[in-house]
């Protein structure tokens, strides 16, 4: 990644679209998320570019996972959650009434905080999502390709019939990535994907993310600032308002956010004064 994107504020809609040919693939406009009566996220707008890793960072409780879950409507599964504002995939609002959340999730994949392989064979773990989404090609080929892309193939090629749960934590997480890739998503969301892993497995996943971003834009939530600095191109810093709601403080190229933040709250957080 030699190209250094120009510094812009995230709330500026022009921002990321002009990042060295990267177009915006997803964007958020005036997002508000309620859990029951509690306003969990407010006043948040951001653009997410193609072919980049965008990280969401901020103190715990700042709503970064909540924002991530609006990108593929996983919030729909929380009975009390309510979303206002727009979440666009290209220029279609995915919260429009004519949009099917199942179709959204088939396009926008997600990797979770804890590895959650299905209690099926390694092969079936990868094949299942593709199968239900009507994949008609050669399944063996797709499984192999996905596992290779997820940097897991060499470790599991001789035991594809074994249970996905027999793998180590780091391998399980790469299996979950392979399973997501196999459905050919347009975007991959990652919700603290390394927080349950040891440092070596974490580095492997980070390397993998750098390789994957050639094909898939990635949005990652992380509580680990070093990780955000290491892997991401763009960083969005979220913080808490006085009403304890999460909100976006600033967003920009990662090196600028970490070296010369414009918002004092970002600086306090990065230099360790808070959070």
């Amino acid at each position: 990644m030699t190209a250094t994107p120009t510094a812009r504020r995230a709330t500026d809609t022009e921002t990321v679209r002009s990042l060295n040919g990267s177009e915006t693939i997803m964007s958020v406009e005036d997002l508000k998320v309620y859990y029951g009566n509690f306003l969990a996220v407010t006043d948040t707008s951001m653009n997410v570019p193609e072919k980049r890793i965008t990280s969401l960072i901020g103190p715990s409780g700042c709503g970064k996972s909540t924002v991530l879950k609006t990108f593929n409507r996983m919030n729909d599964l929380v009975a009390v959650a309510r979303v206002e504002g727009r979440v666009n995939y290209y220029d279609k609002n995915i919260y429009d009434p004519d949009v099917d959340p199942v179709a959204v999730r088939a396009r926008i994949g997600m990797v979770f905080q804890r590895p959650n392989p299905f209690p099926k064979s390694i092969y079936d773990n990868v094949a299942w999502g593709a199968k239900i989404n009507g994949y008609k090609g050669n399944m063996d080929e797709l499984v192999e390709r996905s596992l290779i892309q997820a940097a897991l193939w060499d470790e599991v090629k001789d035991k594809l019939k074994e249970s996905g749960l027999s793998l180590s934590g780091g391998q399980q997480q790469r299996l979950c990535i392979a399973r997501t890739i196999a459905t050919q998503p347009d975007v991959i969301l990652m919700d603290e994907p390394c927080s349950a892993l040891d440092p070596i497995s974490t580095l492997r996943i980070e390397d993998l993310m750098r390789e994957l971003v050639e094909d898939y834009p990635i949005i990652i939530v992380t509580h680990n600032m070093q990780q955000a600095a290491r892997v991401s191109d763009i960083t969005a810093f979220m913080t808490l308002t006085e009403g304890r709601s999460g909100t976006l403080a600033e967003m920009g190229p990662t090196d600028e956010i970490f070296t010369s933040p414009r918002d004092p709250r970002t600086e306090d957080y990065i230099t360790g004064k808070v959070g």
Binding site: K51, Y90, D91, K92, V99, D100, A103, G134
Partner: protein
């Protein structure tokens, strides 16, 4: 990369999957309602068959060959006797066993065997308990076909349920209470008696009442130990012969005459009313103590 404004409404594949999903949802819902509909039909059927029979005479009359003269006095008194005795036996024994297992038992093989054994006993068919009662209490111990033989049999039947429910209630008492007591220099027994047991008591009582409500409807084991339907006197002591409500109902149902069936429905109304009262008591008891703990 070109912006592909791909629609998010889903392809034909997804629409087909969604349609199947909608049908399945309907089927799942109907299956869920099936049991409730049957329950409603059952209650309506029984009440409409039997309500005309439930009057004052129904409670005071003895069994009779003529349906219009028959009543449930003997069976009702028998049920009260048997259930009273069963409660007296199961409560102390069941609570004692659960306290031992939950608070004192060392984690060794004997304890594991006892616990597995209790779980297994809960799965033994009730009629096998009847055979145990017949063989041991009625014949070997020569109690005969008596109230006490029936009560002991039912006690053994519900003990596993009482023990399991009481253990759950004891488990729910936070360990901090035990540690707090022990840290003051109390013995385990003192801690259990003055702190753990009072906290667990609502749960234990609820579990015991629910277990007894299962016992009150039991028919088969009491038939095997020799409860009879046609008796013209109420129990006078532990060695009296006896009848109980479910056996009366069984006997009336098994007769071919339509009138006896209605009589059985009348008996069922009374039995269900008693059951309902017991369940309500258990629920009220639980709610009462829960509210108290919150305040």
């Amino acid at each position: 990369m070109a912006v592909q404004a791909s629609p998010l409404k889903g392809s034909g594949n997804l629409q087909r999957r969604k349609a199947v999903g909608t049908i399945a949802r309907g089927a799942f819902f109907l299956a869920t309602m099936f049991g409730l509909v049957i329950l409603a039909i059952l209650l309506i059927d029984i009440i409409s068959d039997g309500y005309t029979w439930v009057d004052r005479d129904f409670f005071t009359a003895l069994p009779s060959r003529f349906p219009e003269r028959a009543g449930i006095k003997v069976a009702l008194m028998g049920t009260l006797w048997v259930m009273g005795l069963t409660a007296l036996i199961t409560f102390p024994v069941g609570v004692g066993a659960s306290i031992y297992l939950q608070e004192f038992a060392p984690r060794n093989r004997i304890t594991a065997i006892i616990e597995t054994n209790i779980a297994n006993l809960a799965g033994v068919p009730s009629i096998v308990y009847g055979l145990l009662g017949l063989g041991v209490f009625v014949e070997i111990m020569r109690m005969g076909r008596s109230v006490i033989a029936g009560s002991l049999t039912l006690s053994l039947l519900v003990l596993p349920i009482v023990i399991i429910a009481s253990q759950e209630a004891l488990k729910a008492v936070p360990d901090s209470i035990r540690q707090g007591g022990l840290a003051l220099g109390a013995t385990r027994l003192q801690v259990v008696r003055s702190h753990v047991l009072p906290s667990a008591m609502p749960g234990i009582l609820t579990g015991t009442i629910l277990a007894l409500s299962r016992a009150i409807g039991e028919t088969a084991p009491l038939i095997v130990v020799g409860a009879v339907a046609f008796l013209t006197f109420t129990p006078e002591g532990l060695d009296s012969q006896f009848s109980v409500m479910p056996i009366m109902i069984y006997n009336w149902t098994a007769r071919p005459q339509e009138d006896f069936h209605s009589l059985a429905a009348g008996g069922i109304i009374v039995l269900l009313a008693v059951l309902l009262a017991m369940n309500m008591t258990a629920i009220l008891l639980r709610n009462h103590f829960q509210n108290k703990q919150i305040q």
